[in-house]
C-alpha cells in the first residue's frame, strides 16, 4: 500500500490551492486550441489542459490527472473520456467534501 502521492479531487476553485501538486478533475471539453484543451470545470470555470492526450471529443467530459501549473491550468499526464453523461453537480460536491471536512479519508 502506498499513499505517498495522492491525487487531489479539485474543481476550478480548488485548483489554485494545489499549485504544483498532482490533482484530478473533470472538465467538459469546449474546444481544442493547438496543443491544449479548454474545458469547463464542474463549478463553471474555464480551465486549460496541456498534454499529449487530445482525443476526447468536444462536449464530452474528460477526467484530467496531472500537475496544477497555474490557477486555471493543468499539465495533464492522463486524460480519460468520461462520456457525455456525467453529473457535474455530484462531482463538484465530492470535490468540496474531499477537501473539506473529509480530507482525512482522501489525503
Amino acid at each position: 500500500m502506498d499513499t505517498s502521492s495522492p491525487t487531489v479531487f479539485v474543481n476550478g476553485e480548488l485548483l489554485k490551492l494545489y499549485m504544483g501538486r498532482r490533482v484530478r478533475t473533470v472538465v467538459q471539453v469546449i474546444r481544442n486550441e493547438g496543443g491544449a484543451v479548454v474545458g469547463q470545470s464542474t463549478d463553471n470555470q474555464q480551465l486549460t489542459v496541456k498534454g499529449p492526450d487530445q482525443s476526447v471529443p468536444v462536449m464530452h467530459f474528460m477526467e484530467v490527472i496531472g500537475v496544477a501549473d497555474g490557477p486555471q491550468s493543468i499539465r495533464a499526464e492522463i486524460c480519460t473520456d468520461f462520456g457525455s453523461n456525467f453529473d457535474t453537480a455530484s462531482y463538484n460536491g465530492l470535490c468540496k467534501l474531499a477537501n473539506g471536512q473529509f480530507k482525512n479519508l482522501f489525503l
Partner: protein
C-alpha cells in the same frame, strides 16, 4: 449483484438506530466501500494486523474503485495495482475457470475498474485478494463510490457529533443513481429542532452563527462566508463569533475554504 452491494444496508453494519451497539466486533459479513487511504490508516494504526477496523467497524470485504496499473497475467492468476487517487494497493485475482480468465482478460492498464475483494492475508503477502473485477462503464459510478465512504464515516462517527444524525437520511440520494443526482438538501428545520436546547446564551450564539452559515446565500457561494460578515450580520462581539466558528469547525459542522477567514457549512450542500 452490483446493486445489492450498493444498497444502504450492505455497507453499514446494521440499520439499528443505536449505532454504538450495532458496530460491534465480529460482524465479518460486511462489504464496505473504502479508499486506499482509509485502509492504510486503519492498517497502520491497528495492533492486530490480521483484522481491519475502520471507524470502529470490523471490515469483512472491501470495495474499491480506481485505475488499473502494472497488470501481469499468468495461467493461474492475474496481479495488478489499483490506484484510486488516494493511494495504490496491490491485488491478486486467482483464475480458476474460464469465467475468471475472461474476466481478467478484458482488464487493461489505464482502465477504471470496481473491485470487490478481501484484505485477509495482506499482512503476510503484502497484497489483497480480488474476488471480482468489473470495468466501469458509467463514470458517475466513480463519484458514487467516493461518496459512500464519506457517508459511512459520517454514520459511524455520528455518536461524536450527536446532532448530525438528522442529516444522514438526506445526505446521499442513492435511488437516483442512474438518472443523475439530486443535490442533497439538509433539512434545516430538523437541525434547528435538534439543536434548540436551552443551555444558555453560548448555545444561542453558536446556533445563530450556524444559521447564518446555513442560509441559502452562504451555501450558494463557493467560498462560503467571511467571518467579518457573520459578525456584521449578527451584531455580536467578534470574539464570541470566532469562538462559535471554532467550535463548529471542531465538531465538523463547517470548514474553512479559500483562507482561514472564509467558512462554509458542511451540512448544507
Amino acid at each position: 449483484m452490483y446493486s445489492s452491494q450498493y444498497d444502504g444496508g450492505a455497507f453499514v453494519s446494521s440499520q439499528s438506530p443505536d449505532s454504538s451497539v450495532a458496530k460491534t466486533r465480529g460482524n465479518r459479513s460486511t462489504t464496505i466501500p473504502l479508499t486506499v487511504k482509509q485502509i492504510t490508516d486503519a492498517y497502520e494504526s491497528s495492533s492486530q494486523k490480521s483484522e481491519l477496523i475502520v471507524d470502529g467497524v470490523d471490515v469483512g470485504n472491501i470495495v474499491l474503485v480506481g485505475m488499473v496499473c502494472n497488470k501481469a497475467s499468468r495461467a493461474t492468476d492475474a496481479t495488478f495495482t489499483l490506484d484510486d487517487g488516494t493511494g495504490r494497493m496491490d491485488f491478486i485475482r486467482w483464475v480458476n475457470d474460464a469465467a475468471d480468465s475472461s474476466e481478467t482478460a478484458i482488464i487493461e492498464n489505464g482502465m477504471y475498474v470496481s473491485i470487490v475483494g478481501s484484505f485477509k492475508g495482506f499482512n503476510e503477502r503484502k497484497r489483497a485478494t480480488a474476488f471480482a473485477i468489473r470495468p466501469i462503464k458509467d463514470h458517475n459510478q466513480i463519484v458514487l463510490h467516493f461518496i459512500q465512504p464519506i457517508r459511512m464515516h459520517l454514520e459511524n462517527t455520528k455518536s461524536k457529533v450527536g446532532s448530525l444524525s438528522q442529516t444522514q437520511q438526506s445526505f446521499v440520494n442513492e435511488s437516483s443513481f442512474s438518472s443523475g443526482y439530486k443535490e442533497p438538501q439538509t433539512p434545516v428545520s430538523n437541525y434547528a429542532s435538534v439543536n434548540s436546547k436551552a443551555q444558555g446564551s453560548e448555545t444561542d450564539i453558536y446556533k445563530l452563527v450556524l444559521d447564518v452559515l446555513q442560509e441559502p446565500s452562504s451555501l450558494a457561494s463557493e467560498h462560503g462566508i467571511h467571518v467579518d460578515e457573520v459578525v456584521q450580520r449578527l451584531g455580536l462581539p467578534a470574539k464570541k463569533v470566532k469562538e462559535a466558528i471554532d467550535y463548529h469547525v471542531d465538531v465538523g459542522h463547517i470548514y474553512s475554504t479559500i483562507d482561514d477567514f472564509h467558512f462554509k457549512s458542511a451540512l448544507g450542500d
